[in-house]
């Protein structure tokens, strides 16, 4: 319409990544389904949360966050190896042993297609605004944020 030159860059696909080694990948996959299990909607595993965390581990985290995730996954592996009920073995008292991975699971799940549109209500173009609509106990929360979603894994994540 006006002028010349470059146009805006196209949206890239998510970057490719290398999955964790098989044993760690399997433990992470089990963990994300423990944090967000399937019921009438799919859980973390089927929503692709494992791959999301592996991608973020390789392309998004800083070194400190990456080390923290690795250490948390070591604890998870040990808890699984010990056997017993993970709802017990994954805890030190009341504290969950892998808070960073737990947070990544929540953020990965609710920003996935399944989490955003099946588990919660996704309405990309509402078309109208009702400042204070009635909201019932069976209504699902919207999955979008007006101003976008940011995520911090600053040390002590989960706290």
């Amino acid at each position: 319409m006006m002028g010349g030159g470059d146009t805006a860059p196209a949206v890239s696909p998510p970057p490719s990544y290398t999955p964790f080694p098989p044993e760690r990948h399997a433990a992470l996959e089990r963990l994300v389904d423990l944090v967000i299990p399937a019921d009438d909607t799919p859980g973390g595993k089927d929503a692709g949360v494992t791959g999301f965390i592996e991608m973020m581990h390789q392309h998004w985290m800083n070194d400190e966050e990456r080390r923290r995730c690795d250490a948390e996954l070591d604890l998870v592996l040990a808890a699984f190896a010990a056997g017993g009920d993970p709802a017990v073995t994954l805890y030190d008292g009341a504290r969950f042993k892998a808070p960073t991975l737990r947070k990544l699971t929540v953020y990965g799940y609710y920003t996935s297609e399944i989490g955003a549109s099946q588990e919660l209500d996704l309405n990309l173009v509402p078309g109208a605004y009702d400042a204070c609509a009635a909201f019932g106990a069976d209504d699902k929360a919207p999955s979008l944020y007006v101003w976008g979603i940011s995520m911090s894994l600053a040390s002590g994540a989960g706290a």
Binding site: V35, G43, L90, V106, P126, C132, A133, F135, V146, S150
Partner: protein
């Protein structure tokens, strides 16, 4: 002559200059240093879901750490919007740690009109009268009455929603109906009015349509305006001024053209041309016009003027006052209050409102009642906590999943925005470092003074008191200020004033030192007031363009 008028910059003010001058019959050459933007195809992230973005909207953090060191200091830079912000590695400037300034920029057609926050408030008679008369800065060369008809002209054309609130320190304008407050905002409004002697909380006035204007459609409430709006529902150069200018047949746009400097003739004390650089080939040439409008953003326009040398003096032709580059201001922003408001859990906003509430300045309105001069307001909103609250805590399993199916408690946020005084030592000068186009880089130093720091403390204390009055729990406040620049309201480095010894521009935004050069972006601001400034830039631009057009018709310019 390449055109009657050359306009440098296509953002909020440059688009207005193009519209007003072309509609008055003059040919315009509009120079934009960045890429072209076609609103029918280039809002590439509009309406994308999180899973359609490469990092779900969390941003390409490793790339930002490398190439967007300054832009990523702004909250919210993400893979949904980073294409609207400059690559800092390719566009360096200098600052120093002890006077750190964050320069947030967008180089593309439309500039920051695509990414702005859309809040549109008039300055008041008080704002025009107190500057320079309380020992800070110099007086404005114009008063509210000079600008009021131009505010109306701009508001009618861009579309501003809001209420006529009848507040003398925040004059009413030409408004469409507002989006409206939610029940919790209404609750806080009532509680604050009752506790603080009628202190008003109003609907934010915002340049988003609630009724159509021509082809521009009312807001569809998708939420993240910053991605661009293909229905033209908020004001941008693309949605509003550039189509109007294009329709005259008198607008020529050149994108990917960096301006080096203005060609100054010491004999006539006029500018005869604009030295330009092809951003890709680095080829240099000169274009000419009767009049030049600088709308390259506050620091961009100042950089061009600093680099425009008077052959007789060897210094910038526009700087007899020594004010050029000085008196850099940015709004006092950062202090906030955030709290939980109990109740109202059977209510939920539906649709994503692109604005919020506003608490107009209530300090120092009649005499001095605070430990600082001038004042501040707050922007804010109430909303329900979303699934992100599940990122904290220790619960896992179906109990976690099921609690996140429901929205969480209501929270009220208010963030202060206050007046920044003009200080001679907050300034931009040319560096010895050269940029990618062979121009001297800018060196910018900025720090907050005592008045701003005292204001910040008061913002936090008043935020706490108002939230407490509304029965809030878990009140958190902040009173710290980050580096200057992060309000993205930088202004004042070529200020207006009647005295050529103290100011760069006169009452018509015309250079005291060159009658055919006008600067109508944020650089012109004599004082910052507390209100979001873009509406004022637009009104000043329309007024200056009408003046320049008259001068050209009379043969003076």
């Amino acid at each position: 002559m390449d055109a009657d008028v050359i306009i440098v910059g296509s953002g909020i003010s440059g688009g207005w200059a193009a519209k007003e001058l072309t509609e008055r019959g003059f040919s315009v050459l509009l120079l934009e240093r960045g890429r072209n933007v076609d609103p029918s195809s280039d809002y590439v992230t509009e309406h994308l879901a999180p899973y359609e973005l490469p990092y779900r909207g969390f941003g390409d953090r490793q790339r930002y750490a490398r190439d967007y060191k300054v832009q990523s200091r702004m909250a919210g830079l993400s893979d949904a919007n980073a294409h609207w912000f400059v690559n800092d590695a390719e566009n360096p400037y200098e600052t120093v740690p002890e006077a750190d300034f964050a320069w947030i920029r967008g180089y593309h057609l439309g500039g920051r009109s695509i990414t702005w926050g859309r809040a549109s408030f008039r300055l008041s008679p008080l704002n025009f009268s107190e500057a320079g008369r309380d020992g800070h800065g110099i007086p404005w060369p114009i008063g509210y009455d000079d600008l009021a008809p131009w505010y109306s002209h701009v508001e009618r054309f861009i579309g501003v929603n809001g209420d006529a609130d009848g507040i003398p320190s925040l004059p009413d304008g030409e408004f469409m109906p507002p989006h409206g407050m939610n029940c919790v905002e209404e609750h806080v409004k009532g509680a604050v009015a009752a506790k603080f002697g009628g202190r008003p909380i109003i609907n934010e006035r915002s340049a988003v349509l609630t009724q159509p204007i021509g082809d521009r459609q009312p807001c569809h409430y998708c939420g993240p305006c910053i991605r661009g709006c293909s229905t033209g529902s908020y004001f941008s150069s693309e949605s509003s001024t550039l189509p109007a200018a294009t329709a005259t047949g008198r607008l020529k746009v050149m994108t990917d053209v960096v301006v080096d400097s203005l060609v100054h003739d010491p004999a006539t004390k006029r500018v005869t041309g604009v030295r330009i650089i092809d951003a890709k080939s680095r080829t240099r040439s000169t274009v000419s016009a009767r009049v030049v409008f600088l709308n390259a953003s506050t620091l961009g326009s100042t950089q061009i003027l600093l680099n425009s040398i008077d052959a007789d003096t060897g210094r910038s032709f526009a700087n007899r006052s020594d004010a050029l580059g000085r008196y850099l201001m940015d709004h006092v922003m950062g202090p906030f209050g955030l709290a939980t408001i109990p109740g109202f859990t059977d209510r939920m906003p539906m649709g994503n409102r692109p604005s919020g509430i506003y608490i107009p300045r209530f300090q120092n309105l009649a005499g001095t009642d605070r430990a600082f001069r001038r004042g501040y307001g707050y922007q804010g909103s109430a909303s329900r906590q979303m699934w992100t609250r599940g990122g904290e805590g220790d619960d896992i399993g179906l109990s976690l999943k099921h609690r996140l199916r429901q929205p969480g408690p209501w929270q009220m946020f208010i963030g202060g925005m206050g007046e920044c005084m003009p200080y001679a030592d907050n300034r931009a000068v040319l560096s010895k470092q050269i940029d990618n186009w062979g121009r001297p880089q800018l060196h910018v130093e900025f720090h907050w003074h005592e008045n701003e720091l005292a204001m910040a403390k008061d913002m936090a204390a008043e935020a706490r008191a108002m939230l407490a009055a509304a029965g809030a729990t878990d009140i958190v406040v902040g009173d710290t200020l980050g580096p200057g620049g992060l309000a993205i309201h930088e202004m004042g480095t070529a200020r207006m004033g009647d005295d050529p010894a103290q100011a760069v521009l006169n009452a018509h935004n015309q250079c005291h030192d060159a009658a055919n050069v006008f600067v109508t972006d944020g650089a012109c601001m004599t004082a910052s007031a507390a209100q979001n400034p873009s509406l004022t830039y637009m009104a000043l631009t329309a007024r200056a363009a009408a003046f320049a057009a008259d001068q050209m018709k009379q043969g003076v310019l």
